[in-house]
C-alpha cells in the first residue's frame, strides 16, 4: 500500500525561483535564505518519495476570472512550467502520476469533495518554486508530482477547515492506494505578506510562528481562522496559508517536526518552511 511519509510547508515566492534561475543565490540579499534551506534540502535528498502531492495556487496563469475552480487536481502524465508574463521558467517538465491522481479523485469525490480534474495544466511559480526549494536545479525532477490547485485569490475561498478536511480525505485516499510506494504532500504559499494596496509590505512574525507551532501542537486551531483574520493579521495574500491546512490534514494526528526555517524578507514576504514526518 502507499505510505504517506511526510509533509512540507513552504512559501513559494517567485523571486526565489528567479534568484536561482539567474545565479544570484550567493548574493548578500539571498544568501541567508539559501543557507537556511540547506538542512531542508539535505532532508529532501535523503527522503525522496515516489510522488509528491503539491498543494499550490495558480496566480492568474492557467486560471483567470473566466474560470477558477475551488479545488483542481492534475491527472496528466506530465506538466509544463507556465508563461506568467516573462516566459516560462527554464526548469524541467514535471512528470505526473495519473494512477494515484485518479485514485484520489475517485476516493475524495465519494467523500463529497468535488474536484475539478485537469489533464493540461501549465504550472506557475506557485508550483515550480517549491520544487526548486526542495531539489535545487536537477536535470530531471527526482519524483513524480500531483498538482492540487486551490483557489486562494478569488473570493469566496474555501474555508480553512474545508482545506484541512480535503487533506484528511487525500490522506485516506493515499493510504488505500493498492501499490507499494512512498508519498509526501506539500502545502505551499504564505506566510504573512501583502502585495497590494497602501498597506503593502505588512508582515506578522507572531502570527506566522503561532501558525507553525499549531501544526504540531494544535493543528485544529489553524482550521478555526477566518479569511478575514488571515487578511487582517497576515496580509491580503497571507490567506494562502490555508493551503498548508490541506498538507497538515493529510498527515497523522501525531507528527514530528524535523526542521523549521523563517526569514524576512523575501521580496515582500515572510518566508517560512517546515518539514513534518508522520509518526
Amino acid at each position: 500500500m502507499a505510505d504517506l511519509i511526510a509533509g512540507m510547508g513552504t512559501s513559494h515566492v517567485p523571486g526565489v525561483g528567479a534568484a536561482m534561475d539567474n545565479g544570484k543565490t550567493d548574493e548578500a540579499y539571498w544568501k541567508p535564505l539559501f543557507d537556511g534551506l540547506k538542512p531542508l534540502r539535505a532532508w529532501h535528498a535523503s527522503n525522496v518519495p515516489d510522488v509528491n502531492i503539491i498543494v499550490f495556487n495558480d496566480h492568474a496563469t492557467s486560471y483567470s476570472l473566466d474560470g477558477y475552480s475551488t479545488f483542481t487536481i492534475g491527472v496528466g502524465d506530465h506538466f509544463k512550467p507556465a508563461d506568467e508574463g516573462w516566459g516560462p521558467r527554464k526548469v524541467p517538465n514535471m512528470k505526473g502520476h495519473p494512477e494515484l491522481a485518479w485514485h484520489i479523485v475517485e476516493e475524495v469525490m465519494a467523500e463529497d469533495f468535488d474536484l475539478a480534474v485537469a489533464a493540461s495544466l501549465d504550472l506557475d511559480h506557485g508550483f515550480t518554486v517549491p520544487l526548486s526549494i526542495a531539489y535545487d536545479q536537477p536535470d530531471v525532477w527526482p519524483t513524480s508530482v500531483i498538482p492540487v490547485c486551490v483557489n486562494v485569490i478569488q473570493h469566496p475561498l474555501p474555508t480553512a477547515l474545508r482545506c484541512f478536511r480535503l487533506g484528511q480525505a487525500i490522506g485516506r485516499a493515499v493510504a488505500s492506494f493498492p501499490q507499494d510506494m512512498s508519498v509526501a504532500i506539500w502545502g505551499t504559499g504564505g506566510l504573512s505578506h501583502q502585495l497590494g494596496g497602501e498597506r503593502v509590505g505588512v508582515v506578522n512574525p507572531e502570527f506566522d510562528q503561532m501558525f507553525m507551532d499549531n501544526l504540531t501542537q494544535d493543528p485544529m486551531a489553524n482550521t478555526k481562522l477566518s479569511h478575514a483574520e488571515f487578511i487582517r493579521e497576515a496580509g491580503c495574500e497571507g490567506v494562502e496559508m490555508i493551503m498548508w491546512n490541506v498538507m497538515r490534514g493529510a498527515l497523522n494526528t501525531e507528527v514530528k517536526e524535523i526542521y523549521r526555517f523563517y526569514h524576512i524578507p523575501v521580496s515582500a514576504t515572510a518566508y517560512g518552511a517546515i518539514i513534518l514526518e508522520n509518526k
Binding site: 523571486g15 496566480h59 492568474a60 496563469t61 483567470s64 476570472l65 473566466d66 507556465a82 508563461d83 506568467e84 508574463g85 516573462w86 516566459g87 485569490i153 478569488q154 473570493h155 469566496p156 504573512s192 501583502q194 502585495l195 497590494g196 494596496g197 497602501e198 498597506r199 503593502v200 509590505g201 505588512v202 508582515v203 506578522n204 512574525p205 507572531e206 502570527f207 477566518s226 479569511h227 478575514a228 487578511i231 487582517r232 493579521e233 491580503c236 495574500e237 524576512i264 524578507p265 521580496s267 515582500a268 515572510a270
Partner: protein, 132 residues
C-alpha cells in the same frame, strides 16, 4: 449595503464579487500579457491594444501611466497587475513602493522589508489608521 467582514482592513484590496465585476475587463487585459503574441501587440501600440478591451477610460489611463494603486482602486487585482510589471521588466518592488502610502522608491521599499517589513501593529483596522 454590500459589505464584507474584511472591509475595515486598511489599504487592502480583496478580489471578491465587487472587484471582480468592476475589474473584469482590465484584469482580462492584464491576463492576456501571459501570451508572448499579446505582449508584442501591446508593445506595438499600447493604446490601440487597450482599445480592443471594453475597459473604462480611467482604467486605460491607469494602465498607460502605470499607476498601480489607481489600478487596484479601479478593480484591478495585484496578481494580474504583476503581468504588467513583468512586461516592463521591472522588479515587483517598484510596484509595491508605488502603491505604499506614503509611496517609496525601490530602494526605500527594500529597506523597509530588510528591517522586518511593515509592522502589523497599527495596521489592522481603518480605525487604527484614523487614530494613529
Amino acid at each position: 449595503m454590500d459589505t464584507r467582514d474584511y472591509d475595515d482592513v486598511p489599504g487592502t484590496y480583496v478580489l471578491d464579487s465587487r472587484t471582480y465585476r468592476k475589474g473584469y475587463h482590465v484584469n482580462m487585459f492584464l491576463m492576456s500579457l501571459n501570451r508572448a503574441e499579446c505582449r508584442d501587440t501591446f508593445a506595438e501600440n499600447e493604446r490601440a491594444y487597450l482599445d480592443t478591451f471594453p475597459m473604462t477610460d480611467d482604467q486605460k489611463e491607469a494602465v498607460l501611466d502605470r499607476r498601480y494603486l489607481d489600478l487596484l482602486k479601479l478593480g484591478g487585482n495585484v496578481y494580474y497587475a504583476f503581468k504588467l510589471v513583468s512586461y516592463d521588466k521591472q522588479p515587483p518592488q517598484v510596484m509595491y513602493g508605488q502603491m505604499a502610502q506614503p509611496s517609496m522608491s525601490f530602494e526605500e521599499f527594500q529597506e523597509m522589508m530588510g528591517k522586518g517589513g511593515r509592522s502589523i501593529d497599527g495596521n489592522r483596522t481603518i480605525a487604527e489608521w484614523n487614530n494613529g
